[in-house]
């Protein structure tokens, strides 16, 4: 099998979710990814839930496994001078570096972008940080919550008489990982042509803010500041509507004409002229909403979803992890891959394929590494460190290792 990024060498100096996810995506396309971790403790994502608590402390995180397959791990303390020759060799043998330290941190250890580019002039350095490398918020501390708050997404989410609402789980970091990955490949492609390296400065905050193309147009073309959702929402704007079992979400404007709902539910009211166009329906939101709620209250969401979608109605249903893990469509598409891991003695189904490439499909080629698992393979076999060099690193860098 061919891989699109076969032969591309990635050095993953990052930690947490966003940077490691970006580096892993490059690995999925075939890049050779070496992950550098802090000796002893490793990437802090090694302690992020969900945890398999009977494994060794640094190997419990199943989320870490998801974020770090297709990588090999070496523990190296970047703060120590003795690491410098090794890191230099690694940089000289890389095409892309992904890092997520606070702005200025790498430089404080003697690894400014200028230094890295001096060692390797065609190198791509991708920094993925909360607010980017520059500007008044560059050093702001952030969480998924504060990033979503400051991005504009929460101002338009939730109910107008309640507090603004965020997306669940840790969406910011996955968004930034997706962006950081493509921006890295993009810069690599550019460097392949002109032989100049690049520093890609990704802001997680801006990744989220760049989603607000509609909301920003309300202000930019009309001066209208969009607020949260109405107490009684237009039922065709995606708000989950309770069915007997589960919830449905409806939209209009594509697929089938509106009257198709009359056919789906056996209710001629949907053919009435007063509901015929969006402006008319917008004037009768409570009425049309009550009608729709009545139509679904005695049916199961999935049954209505399948029937409605087959009639080309824009319809969705709220699905949980369990629903997704057992979805006939996802199974047919082979969206999940089973990845076994000896450290946790698990073999879980992970979401493995984002898009299907006809010639160079993505692949989970190796499970996530245990901390420092590939020390000998990378430092000795690949970089050619001799016994003395290796020993000096060991002694100084990893006393508790």
């Amino acid at each position: 099998m061919q891989h699109a990024l076969q032969g591309v060498r990635v050095l993953d100096l990052s930690h947490g979710i966003a940077g490691p996810f970006a580096a892993r995506l490059l690995g999925d396309y075939g890049a050779d990814v070496i992950k550098i971790e802090q000796p002893g403790r490793g990437d802090f994502a090694r302690y992020l839930a969900p945890l398999k608590t009977d494994a060794a402390a640094s190997e419990q995180s199943l989320l870490f496994q998801y974020l770090n397959w297709n990588k090999r791990s070496v523990a190296l303390d970047l703060r120590l001078a003795s690491s410098r020759p090794v890191l230099r060799k690694l940089i000289e043998n890389s095409d892309i570096v992904i890092e997520s330290f606070k702005p200025g941190k790498l430089e404080s250890w003697g690894y400014s972008v200028d230094q890295l580019l001096e060692w390797n002039p065609t190198l791509i350095v991708t920094s993925i940080t909360n607010f980017g490398q520059t500007g008044p918020y560059a050093h702001y501390r952030a969480s998924d919550l504060t990033l979503q708050a400051m991005s504009g997404i929460m101002a338009i989410s939730g109910q107008v008489d309640r507090e603004p609402l965020k997306h669940g789980l840790s969406q910011s970091f996955y968004c930034a990982g997706l962006t950081g990955a493509y921006a890295s490949t993009m810069a690599y492609a550019a460097a392949q042509v002109d032989q100049f390296g690049e520093h890609v400065d990704v802001s997680i905050h801006e990744c989220l803010a760049s989603e607000l193309v509609l909301n920003q147009s309300y202000y930019g073309f009309l001066g209208a500041v969009q607020g949260r959702r109405a107490v009684v929402q237009d039922p065709f704007a995606g708000e989950p509507i309770a069915a007997r079992k589960g919830f449905l979400a409806f939209q209009t404007g594509g697929g089938a004409p509106f009257e198709t709902l009359a056919e789906l539910f056996g209710r001629p009211e949907f053919r009435e002229p007063k509901f015929a166009s969006p402006p008319q329906r917008e004037k009768r939101v409570p009425e049309v909403r009550a009608l729709l709620e009545e139509c679904v209250q005695d049916r199961d969401a999935k049954e209505v979803f399948l029937a409605g979608a087959s009639k080309r109605i824009l319809i969705g249903m709220v699905q949980s992890a369990d629903d997704l893990l057992n979805c006939e469509h996802l199974n047919e598409r082979q969206a999940f891959a089973e990845v076994a891991h000896p450290a946790t003695n698990t073999h879980l189904q992970f979401p493995a394929e984002l898009t299907k490439l006809s010639v160079t499909p993505t692949k989970v080629r190796r499970r996530s590494p245990m901390l420092d698992e590939h020390r000998h393979e990378i430092l000795v076999t690949q970089l050619g460190l001799n016994a003395a060099e290796l020993a000096s690193l060991d002694v100084v860098a990893a006393p508790g290792h």
Partner: protein, 451 residues
């Protein structure tokens, strides 16, 4: 001779057949990165972003040519040229194939049967351009039992799993943001495109990318998928709070509808917050001193923190909390963002000069800066069919007579043949409902783009 830094898509031509957000945005970004992007629009079916469903029309006035006045269209479709071409006609398909011969990338998001019906699916196009990269974005992908289902981002957000884990505590699932899956598809598609570009430049070989938006949702909720398999439980909906860190929530600040977000992620930071709140004893209080204890007292902690934030302004709170290394920031709205000091400093919005009547506007750029390469929005989004003549003449070498003929036969159109209804947004009603919080008449001067 000095080497010259290039944009990665200098000299690359992209044909963009897509509608609405995900793929049009992808194509807009490709234009920022150097590509010549031709948006091919159907004369009888406007991109929804040119229409009433999204809007808004410039100053809420659809005027005579509403399709050229929709704000969202200009954000997503910046940098492109427009060719209004009827692919349902044989001559339209022939023109398209001629363009494919002179292009590198095709992007589309029709349901799978449409391109096949026109004989313009990848297997056919590859025959005339073996190095062609084509991306097809659909709701459910090209295969599997649901592949023919129609979809848009809003309903997909529910189906793909994100909605189940989003919402106020104890309440039903909630939709959040705007068409979230479209942006995920945009970025995931960009990943696939760039991988395909690298492969093509190395081998000369093109390929087809089958992007099904539904399955992208899985990649965003690994915590929930893993938890379910680990112990059979579901991650709870907990509003804005965090399973692990307490406090991590929104708190009301002084002023009208002002909210501060803050996250305390260590005992040390809890101690700092307690001191800032003027209650240093809370740091030693057994009920709150450790992360586990704070998780058991969420309600009390939320009450304590809200009492402190309620009389303070969000900017003061942010400055104070950040000075003590506590993650925090205000809920910003669309106006706040346009005038935000950080985004201005970063150049996140780019000033784009549109022809009258729109004039200059700040348009969202890209969420990353390149240090050595000048990625930027090259030109405003196109008016409908704006580049018809130039494209037919300059790229395909058609004569004025040939161009006149395809226009007579409505293969190429200068005006939409079925523009649909236009109309104004009922801003008064929206202000009453609260779905708009303000309408600023002087918004141009607030944004600094007075004509």
């Amino acid at each position: 001779m000095e080497k010259k830094k290039t944009l990665p898509l200098d000299g690359v031509r992209v044909l963009d057949l897509s509608y609405v957000f995900a793929v049009p945005y992808m194509a807009g970004l490709l234009s920022d990165l150097g590509a010549e992007v031709i948006k091919i629009e159907a004369p009888h079916k406007l991109d929804q972003t040119r229409g009433r469903a999204f809007g808004p029309y410039l100053d809420n006035d659809p005027a005579q040519d509403s399709w050229n006045r929709s704000g969202i269209f200009y954000v997503v479709n910046r940098g492109k040229r427009s060719l209004a071409l009827d692919l349902g006609q044989e001559k339209g398909q022939e023109i398209f194939r001629d363009l494919v011969r002179k292009s590198d990338i095709v992007l589309e998001n029709y349901t799978p049967r449409v391109m096949r019906k026109w004989g313009l699916n990848y297997d056919e196009l590859k025959k005339i351009k073996p190095s062609l990269i084509m991306l097809s974005n659909t709701g459910y992908g090209s295969s599997g039992p649901w592949s023919a289902f129609p979809s848009q981002g809003t309903t997909l957000e529910a189906t793909m799993g994100v909605t189940f884990y989003t919402g106020y505590e104890g309440d039903k699932p909630w939709k959040v943001g705007q068409s979230y899956p479209d942006f995920i598809a945009c970025w995931a598609g960009m990943n696939a495109l760039w991988a395909a570009i690298v492969h093509m430049r190395k081998t000369g070989e093109g390929q087809w990318i089958d992007c099904g938006m539904y399955q992208l949702g899985l990649s965003l909720i690994p915590e929930a998928l893993i938890q379910k398999q680990l112990d059979g439980t579901d991650r709870p909906r907990i509003g804005n709070e965090d399973l692990e860190h307490v406090p991590s929530n929104l708190y009301r600040a002084s002023g009208n509808d002002q909210w501060i977000a803050l996250t305390v992620d260590s005992d040390e930071r809890w101690s700092k917050l307690a001191t800032l709140m003027g209650q240093p004893a809370l740091a030693q209080d057994k009920r709150y001193a450790t992360a586990a204890a704070r998780r058991a007292h969420r309600v009390e902690i939320n009450t304590l923190v809200s009492a402190w934030t309620a009389s303070r302004e969000v900017t003061d709170l942010t400055r104070l909390l950040q000075a003590h290394d506590i993650a925090s920031g205000p809920v910003l709205n669309s106006k706040d963002l346009f005038i935000n000091e950080h985004l201005q400093h970063r150049g996140f919005y780019e000033r784009v000069e549109h022809p009258t009547p729109i004039g200059p506007r700040p348009i969202i750029g890209r969420p990353y800066r390149l240090r050595f390469r000048d990625a930027h929005i090259k030109k405003p989004g196109p008016r409908f069919g704006e580049d018809n003549d130039a494209i037919l003449r300059d790229i395909l070498g058609m004569t004025p007579e040939q161009i006149a003929e395809v226009k007579t036969n409505k293969v190429v159109c200068d005006l939409p043949t079925n523009p649909g209804i236009s109309g104004t947004m009922d801003t008064d009603m929206m202000l009453r409902l609260g779905t708009l919080s303000a309408v600023d008449k002087n918004y141009r001067s607030i944004m600094g783009v007075d004509l």
